[in-house]
Amino acid sequence: MPYSYIEEIVTADAAFRAWGQTLEETFISAFDATTNLMVDDLESITKKEVRVIEVNDRSEEMLLFQILQELIYLKDTFCLFLRLQKASIEKKDGLFIFRGEAAGERIDNTKHHLAVDVKAVTLHLFSVRKTDFGWEAMVVLDI
């Protein structure tokens, strides 16, 4: 699993590290890590609906911040559990532009083993950085 939850910090909330060889892979991992906090088994999410996610920002870090916020918005507004399928990032005029497709279905407590709700993405200890092996993101979520 290209993400790992961190036990030792933020006692009341949740934190994880996510990895990937590319920025896109790292963001897909972070997306899964966030969804996996809300549903115990990611494989129980059937890909019935597709939502296009398009966001941009001035840094890789804030780009991930925007993407995860999008996930939370779609969860609350349309009651969807989603997994990111495709992701592409391009840089243009100083902006990082993300385009991705997230697939999933309506939250169904008879089918999905629900975990805890994610209220928000925090900026506490938030980071996206290049490593010797690719990229690593660290995220703290408000529960």
Binding site: E7, D13, M38, N109, L114, A115, D117
Partner: protein, 484 residues
Amino acid sequence: MSSPLELQKITGTIWELPRTFRSGMNVPARIYATEKLIESMDEGVFNQVANVAMLPGIVKYALCMPDGHWGYGFPIGGVAAMDPSEGVISPGGIGFDINCGMRLVLTNLTIRDVRPNLERLIDRLFREVPSGVGSQGWIKLSRNDFLKITQQGARWLVERGYGWGEDLEKTEENGCAEGADPSRVSERAFERGLHQLGTLGSGNHYLEIQFVKPGHIFDKSTASVFGIKSDEQVVIMFHCGSRGFGHQVATDYIQVFLRAMEKYHITAPDRELSCAPFSSPEGQEYFVAMKCAINISFANRQLILHQIRKVFSEVFGRSAMDLGMHQVYDVAHNTAKLEEHIVDGVKRRLLVHRKGSTRAFGPGMGGIPEVYKETGQPVIIGGSMETGSYLLKGVSSGDQTFYSTTHGSGRVMSRRAARRQYRGKDVQKKMAEEGIYTRTSSFSALAEEAGGAYKDIDEVIEAASQARISRPVVRFSPVGSVKG
């Protein structure tokens, strides 16, 4: 856990980090805790309360209450009073769940009346008060209705039959923060919140049926004013906030404030402490947007109260009024308010941030219901679902913390660690053996909320009492629980 070497013991329950602890601290930081609690406090608390002390315009101390634990930005249990003309407002000092709070409801039933009906009550409450990830409310509201609720709060619902007039009198701010301006709220916040009114949420949010064990009324005359008349009396306590609407308002303004910090040349050691001068356009816009979320939170708890009354009425075949289902109080623990306080002998208007801390106004103070003027305000403290909860009262000596006290027992174990240590189904079984019937939307969440993941509530209340920032009135024991 080891506390910093610089930590100085002021009294048996007050600990101070001097300004020299970290460069940039404008005031010292004070933590309220017994020796036992301070020893178990995680390192994040010390770092975060020191960070809060660096915020511009902070007055006297950055404070942390006895249930303090590592949060984001402020520690949970953090209190900071800002000078409104020179100081800042920070969403990180309020929390994403704006105006998250507690409501306590009386009954004239005893545990002997409730025990035979307990499973029916909890099963129905579990159905009628939606909880957990993705839950939606039962009330159908147009966007325009919702917009009015952002301005009018619980009042809008009471006027339409979802509550009693007296509920508003016994709600902080009478259930409506005046001056809320929905034009300062994003469309996304409306979209997220529109279908969630009347839902409990998840995490540490809950609805419990509780009762008074013999010997657990500590202050009989105050308890009587609060409506707790005898041992074995049953009450209902619940904990929830402003749901996705409030979360989105905070999220939006944290980003606005990151830009504002550059504009106003403010630095903070944690981006979650992003802030803006309170008097700036950005600060004022957040303040009136935050008030919309405060109103949604009051309305959310009002609608849940309506459902609780309905369920009890159906199960016992008596009206809610006949069952004595009066509200004791509704009080928030994630908020920022303009209040008047005496600082070094001078009356000052301050913007008091409380993040995981409950306002605890003492006797004779303004802003609390007339009926509680002589006793001090009721302070509702939710413990872990396995142990117990408290009703406290505000006291005059609470001026040392800007009349703020604890808000719960506070975690000692991270959610992830709790999940590794406990299994939700085992927790449910153990609670059943202890006489507590529980329904949950999530067994993972139940494991995370196990009693062992929390501090000892009695120790936390003892700390608050010894420090004279609030006094215990009644201890409640859980008997039935709905967990999100």
